[in-house]
């Protein structure tokens, strides 16, 4: 009896079931994809509906846009490289040379994912700013007239802050990958006389490559999109694409210029998102 009910119910449910996706899809279309399409329209067409190639080429050849693009890409690449190196070193020690409390420390680093990114920048101004602890200490110790450490208000300040904020995004998949590495294989290799560096290179790193690629492409995406860190450092010379969009739209009320830059920024981000999905998909994650 119940079997008959299931057989009878199934085809009807599949037909109506397909429509259940409509409400959330419509909500996302209205609140996200429709505004995105309007950004593109505002970027490429003027109010009378004519394509405006001149304005687009003017913005794309402008010094402020090219500087911001170069800044964004170079900061993102440098920060991602830093995250990969720091994340790999920390994960190797946490997974293979554990110490009392290392699990707690790993969780502590993990909570950084939930904290606002600008917290780190604010902290860095107290640590490395011109009136910060490091400069005050150096000036007292060597009786210097001027603060000797000035990297914070350059691209390096942004890079260091982004390394702090985004290393947990590398650490998490790495620790997951390392937990699958066969400990017996490592012990056997080291009993047979292999030195730690050789074990890392030949046994551990091959297992980590997919996590490094997926984590690295996620870092590239997140650092290209980063806004809070750059805004809080507030250095005149360090303008990235998101900051330029904010400046043009809110401070200068040039919505069309902001939209043109936003189209480029979104295209760059979506390209990196595709790279991340491809990498994560190959890993099976």
């Amino acid at each position: 009896m119940s079997e008959a009910a299931v057989i009878g119910a199934r085809p009807a449910r599949v037909e109506t079931g397909k429509f259940w996706i409509l409400p959330p899809a419509a909500l996302l279309a209205l609140l996200f994809f429709y505004p995105l399409a309007l950004i593109a329209r505002q970027a490429f067409f003027d109010d009378s509906g004519m394509a405006n190639v001149a304005e687009v080429t003017r913005v794309l050849h402008s010094r402020f846009f090219l500087n911001a693009l170069i800044n964004t890409v170079s900061i993102s690449v440098a920060a991602t490289a830093g995250c990969l190196i720091v994340g790999l070193v920390l994960a190797l020690i946490l997974a293979f040379v554990p110490f009392p409390g290392s699990r707690f420390v790993a969780r502590l680093i993990d909570t950084f994912i939930a904290l606002p990114t600008f917290l780190v920048t604010l902290a860095f101004t107290f640590l490395y700013g011109s009136a910060g602890m490091l400069n005050a200490g150096l000036m007292e110790a060597f009786s210097l007239p001027l603060p000797p450490v000035n990297f914070l208000y350059s691209s390096w300040g942004v890079v260091l802050a982004e390394v702090t904020v985004y290393t947990p995004f590398i650490l998490r998949p790495l620790l997951a990958a390392f937990s699958l590495v066969d400990r017996g294989q490592i012990e056997a290799a080291s009993v047979l006389g292999a030195r730690p560096l050789r074990i890392v290179r030949q046994v551990i790193l091959p297992a980590a490559i997919p996590a490094l690629i997926a984590g690295g492409s996620l870092c590239l995406l997140l650092t290209v999109n980063e806004f809070g860190i750059v805004l809080f450092i507030g250095a005149k010379g360090v303008i990235t694409l998101p900051l330029l969009i904010y400046g043009k739209a809110i401070q200068e009320s040039q919505y069309q210029v902001a939209c043109i830059i936003a189209v480029i920024n979104i295209a760059l981000s979506l390209g990196l998102f595709g790279l991340y999905r491809f990498a994560a998909g190959r890993l099976g994650a």
Binding site: G17, F32, P35, V97, A114, L119, A249, Y255, A262, R277
Partner: protein, 265 residues
């Protein structure tokens, strides 16, 4: 164990302590210290005070805490409903459509937050959909930005769910609505709580889209921290940042307990 010699291990642990201390511990410690600093002219503050906390709580910070909590709660609740709904109804689609739609639901997490804010300004500044200048546009911005994370968390939970329970329920004659409410959703509960907690935390720290769209009178914590530090009031900014950190961590820990209880029962 990878390194057998004691000295080798000590060197590695010292390296770990150095990197961890400089990159992660020092920033948190220095924010706490500066939120309590009275006078700070040398390496360390010369006196400690809780006056900054008093100042920010008597000022507009109370409103900022309220704005952040209300925005975070409403945006996360809406994202939870829509993300769960999307993840559940995607299971009823064919393979190709499911992959495509799944990708589309993830895309908001890839777009820079400032551009999400810009899009909302461009789209909703004219009647009939006039949201610009209202509190609702802040909620919408937060909802869009966190919706992908909720959807992702719930989808991951659904993928880990054993299909047995649902099949048993259907073969016993449970109708789809009954099965959803009494079998699938209770099994998903820990993932739902975790998704809600993560999106609440993300919303509390959101800055990029909020600075684009916020109306006067609805200033969230990150925006008011920025305006404090921007006009040089760094100690008050640090105090407000500590309030944000403590509120976020308390929320996450509390929800983690709820999730543990939900999965235990």
């Amino acid at each position: 164990m990878l390194v057998w010699s004691r000295s080798g291990r000590l060197v590695l642990w010292a390296l770990f302590a150095l990197v961890f201390g400089v990159l992660f511990l020092a920033p948190l410690a220095v924010i706490l210290l500066s939120s309590l600093a009275g006078q700070w002219n040398g390496v360390l503050p010369s006196s400690l005070t809780t006056a900054h906390y008093g100042d920010v709580l008597h000022g507009s910070a109370g409103d900022a805490v309220k704005a952040s909590l209300v925005t975070g709660f409403l945006a996360s609740a809406l994202a939870l409903v829509s993300g769960t709904w999307a993840a559940l109804s995607l299971r009823l689609q064919g393979h190709a459509l499911r992959r495509l739609l799944g990708l589309l639901f993830f895309i908001p997490s890839a777009v820079p937050s400032v551009s999400v804010g810009l899009g909302l300004l461009v789209a909703f500044s004219n009647p009939p959909l006039l949201l610009n200048g209202t509190v609702a546009i802040v909620m919408v911005a937060h909802f869009v930005l966190i919706s992908a994370f909720t959807f992702g968390n719930v989808s991951a939970g659904l993928a880990r769910l054993s299909p047995d329970f649902e099949q048993v329920a259907s073969s016993l004659g449970a109708r789809p609505g009954y099965r959803l409410w009494h079998v699938t959703l209770p099994l998903l509960a820990p993932y739902l709580v975790a998704a809600f907690g993560l999106s609440f935390a993300l919303s509390m720290g959101e800055l990029g889209a909020t600075v684009m769209v916020y109306p006067p009178g609805w200033v969230t914590l990150p925006v008011s921290i920025f305006s404090l530090t921007d006009r040089g009031d760094v100690f008050a900014g640090a105090a407000l940042t500590m309030i944000l950190v403590v509120a976020t961590l308390a929320l996450l820990l509390g929800l983690e307990r709820v999730a543990a209880r939900a999965s235990g029962s």
